[in-house]
Amino acid sequence: MSAPAVFFYLFGAAAVVSALAMVLNVRNTVAAAMSLVVTMISLAVVYVTLEAHLVAALQILVYAGAIVVVFLFVVMLLNLRRDTFAPSRQLLTKGAGVVLALGVAGAFLQLVPQALPTVQEIPPDFGSYAAVGRTLYRDFVLPFEVTSFLLLAAIVGAVVLAKRRLD
């Protein structure tokens, strides 16, 4: 097994384990958020092994950086206590969740190998900044511009809902 493949499986497993740790760490929200950071960074490494370097950098900047900071802010503002999540209320939910998750995982493990199309070879400049730029501004110029309007809508919305005085 080549070195990238070793890293791929190693960090793939780390992503799954830390994602589970995030979901199971119901009592301690800060620990859950930190597990999320581990998931994000592991995914970034997976992207690197798949030659998608720009996506890996964005993953670290946006998800592991900005978004987790926002999560921590919310955790801090809500000031959750340990007994906010009483275990008795969650037993049924947890049980149903585990059964459903196992069911979905089983179905996919069975279905994916027979149903996926063959993977194409990636072009040599895949994932480079030039290729990403060309894709963004030429092939996907419409979604790119629409996304900017989407962000504008989100900004205006945040101001409308949160500004102290709207005059």
Partner: protein
Amino acid sequence: MNAPQLDMAAIAPLAFAAFGALFVLLGEVWLTRRRTNEHFINAALSVLSISFLGLSVYCAGAAFSDGTTRVFDPANPMLSLDRFAAYSIALIGIASLLICFASISYLPQVGINHGEYYALLLLSTAGMFLLVGATDLMALFLGLELMSIPLYVMAGFDRRNLRSNESAFKYFLVGSFASAILLYGIALVYGVTGSLGFDAIRAGFPPGNPIGIVGLGLLVVGFAFKVASAPFHQWAPDVYEGAPTSVTAYMAITVKVAAFAALLRLLTQAFGPVTASLSDLFWVLAALTIVVGNVMAVIQTNLKRLLAYSSIAHAGYLLIGFATGTVEGYGAVLFYLLVYVFTNLGAFAVLMALAQGGRDCDTLDDLAGLARQRPGLAALLTLFALSLAGIPGTAGFVAKFFVFESAVASGQTVLAIIGVLGSVVSFYYYLRLPVQMYMSEAATETPRRHAATGELLVLAVCAVVVLFLGFFPSHAPGVLGAVRALEWARSSVAMLY
């Protein structure tokens, strides 16, 4: 490297609405520096939005009568302006435009006249224009989000009102959940076909592939959330009740048109032959939605909740057309949407005209004695209620007739019978409105304001359309009747194949 050949005419309606939002945002800043009269600023921004929406509708109308298909980027097709898109854009554009007219006096009455309202409305409308013209799952998803995010904010626009806050938050949570389900469906479809474009999916979709079927099912569930079809409808009454009435009208009317039109295009263009296997799924959704919507509407005392359940029931009638899976059925759906827009808009416009002094008119008791105080508004609300119920002589009857006819013609007789029985139940709760207005008196009489010009205009347009389509279903030469409108709808659907 050569530049892509872009056809700007294909995105003209979308661009007018989106850039209109920028002008509204800038215009508000510019006007508040120079004028202090809030009502003037509100009216000016509304007129600005109306003119941009008017341009969009004009472009769509021109594209519809032209009949050609324009693709924004032929090398990488994601958005096209064809007959179907033009029909839907015109419908959504006219509805948004009329809501802007009615908002001129409604917003100051409930004390929420901030210019951002019109900017958000235009952005959301731009999202709907993208949604109905999208021929690529990425554009479809972006359109859906651009439509939804401003709507979440608009639902909470009355910031001091707890109900409005609750409405916004519920809508945001359920809407994000629905978007996630839809996105999962998109991911699975991409997984089995390796492409996001509708044409490529149609060519590369393996018929028996279980993952593909799961993906298609998740896409349908995502749309079922957006159109509030049972069993994915629970959010609708709470959200419709809490939002300001003009926003409720906008959500109930335009979102339904955009989501149904996008689903129709997705099923015919991307999944053509596979769609037949979904007939049973739509059968169950339609029957369940009709029953739940009509039965729950009977026990409501809040007008907005009543109209919410009524709009759920109407989603059920629309789903009958999807269960048939024929061109006639889909054509009947598009015609039904046309009637749905004007009938519901009329009903909501009456409620908007009755809001005053910071209070919405939203309970059945608020209607007591209306016939004596404002006989015109009472008569109009009666007309729209009768059309919603589907009394002969109104557009609502013709629309239901076409849908049920297409169901019977394709062998779905049981579903048509369920629909007719649902309509019979609906007479009960729609007729409670005239009974309340004409036969009971208010305990304490408060003087009601006169309806403003904008509201009167909206009411007049809606009443004319409802009566005209109801009274002239015939196919007389040169006369624009219901049959002619149905032909427009059918020709729009037929070009999708």
